[in-house]
């Protein structure tokens, strides 16, 4: 009958959707593993470069690099890392909400806000609510290269050196575990002095070329880049994890829906049979 047929079509279409969501879940799971792997591989560089910077800074206490100097904060820069695609639960909206909260805090203190956006979701969001955007990059794919990020980092670092911003923050999601991703705002500039290992006996490097500052500058810039790179990679791992969970939920919901509809279908089918039987019996009685 018509109702039964309609329900059957509906069930079929839900089943198709379920197939898609299940496939997406599996794709996200494998991409997440790859992203996690990339995160792990990027770790040694950041670690080593920090060590070298630490040594250099210790060897030259008289040279305070601008990145280490704190100044009065009148303008703040934010690098906001979002995803390019949706279907990943509340990942982007949570991050953007958190970022807005952070921005508001600075605005209340009378600071001016400058933005640098990674990913189309952030772009669309700030297009709606407005904001001064200094740099933007999107469509980095699943395996972004450091080269893709050089531009935006350079923009923000130049802004810092030109006193256009006095502090720089990186807003991205932190990968806690597969089930949990947390929005996180990390201060990049000025570099927060970490609890230093105790000063060992004094020694200095030989520098080639003989200009420690230039080398330190290059190292600092590379460090900043690696930090942003890490943020972006971690955000991708978060995106895939969130998508995996979202798609798993969607698959489960589709299964529930199919169950309900199946019940409706059977009821309609049985009602039709009963009606037909009564009609036949009634017809026979008349004859």
């Amino acid at each position: 009958m018509t109702v039964a047929k309609e329900v059957r079509t509906k069930i079929r279409s839900i089943k198709n959707t379920q197939k898609i969501t299940r496939a997406m879940e599996m794709v996200a799971a494998s991409k997440m593993r790859k992203a996690q792997d990339r995160m792990r591989r990027a770790k040694p560089y950041a670690h080593k470069i920090l060590q070298v910077i630490g040594h250099l800074a210790k060897g030259h206490p008289e040279y305070r690099h601008p990145y280490l100097q704190e100044r009065e904060i009148k303008r703040v820069g934010f690098i906001v890392v979002t995803t390019d695609r949706g279907l990943c639960g509340g990942l982007n909206s949570n991050l953007l909400k958190y970022t807005l909260h952070e921005i508001k805090k600075w605005k209340d203190k009378g600071a001016e806000i400058n933005l640098c956006l990674v990913g189309t979701k952030g772009e669309n969001f700030f297009k709606r609510i407005g904001g001064k955007v200094l740099g933007h990059v999107d469509h980095l794919g699943d395996a972004p290269k450091l080269t893709d990020l050089v531009g935006i980092v350079k923009v923000m670092l130049t802004a810092y050196m030109d006193n256009q911003i006095d502090a720089l923050f990186l807003c991205s999601n932190e990968f806690v575990n597969t089930m949990k991703q947390e929005p996180n705002v990390q201060q990049m500039l000025p570099i927060v002095a970490s609890t230093d290992v105790k000063l060992e006996h004094y020694w200095d490097y030989i520098y080639e070329p003989d200009n420690a500052r230039e080398l330190l500058d290059t190292l600092m810039n590379r460090y900043m880049e690696s930090q942003v790179y890490r943020g972006v990679i971690e955000n991708i791992a978060c995106e895939q994890a969130a998508r995996m969970i979202a798609m798993k939920n969607a698959t489960d919901n589709a299964a529930d829906l199919i169950n309900d509809l199946q019940l409706v279908y059977h009821k309609a089918r049985q009602a039709a049979i009963t009606r037909e039987l009564t009609e036949i019996v009634a017809g026979a009685a008349v004859v």
């Binding site: 560089y45 933007h136 290269k145 531009g151 350079k154 923009v155 080639e208 590379r222």
Partner: protein, 144 residues
């Protein structure tokens, strides 16, 4: 201490991955000021690297491992050598060009404030939602 130890530890890392890590008898690299040969016990040194090969002489077998780096930094401590390799050739003007592109993208993104793509997407979503509501209503009517 120096007498017994004849190898040094070398780590070659780039921002994207760890390339090599192990013991070496000797390391050769192309520094900004020229070729460097580093033996265990070398004085602490930091230098910029030009794009070129890093040659690592492995202990015992005397075999040579060669890695190509596109520039970067080299840090030497008496028994530890760290190569912070760049993944791409870096130069001031290339970086500048990338920065300009990022800026241009930002301006472009802001210029198209209410782009037509968004409108098209929104109307498509609306149509879909309406169709769904209709389907549900029809279903309910039939069931009653």
């Amino acid at each position: 201490m120096t007498g017994t130890r004849v190898t040094l530890r070398i780590d070659i890392v780039s921002a994207e991955e760890a390339i090599f890590s192990g013991e070496a008898e000797m390391v050769f690299a192309t520094g900004a000021m020229g070729e460097l040969g580093i033996a265990p016990g070398h004085a602490p040194l930091v230098t910029a690297l030009k794009s070129g090969n890093i040659r690592v002489i492995l202990p015992d077998t005397k075999k040579e491992e060669v890695f190509y780096v596109k520039g970067g930094m080299l840090e030497v401590q008496p028994f530890v050598v760290t190569v912070l390799a760049d993944t791409v050739v870096r130069a001031h003007d290339i970086d500048e060009a990338a920065a300009l592109e990022a800026k241009a993208r930002a301006e472009q993104a802001l210029a198209s404030k209410s782009s037509e793509i968004d409108f098209a997407k929104a109307s498509a979503e609306l149509a879909e939602a309406i169709a769904q509501i209709r389907a549900v209503q029809r279903l309910k009517k039939h069931l009653k």
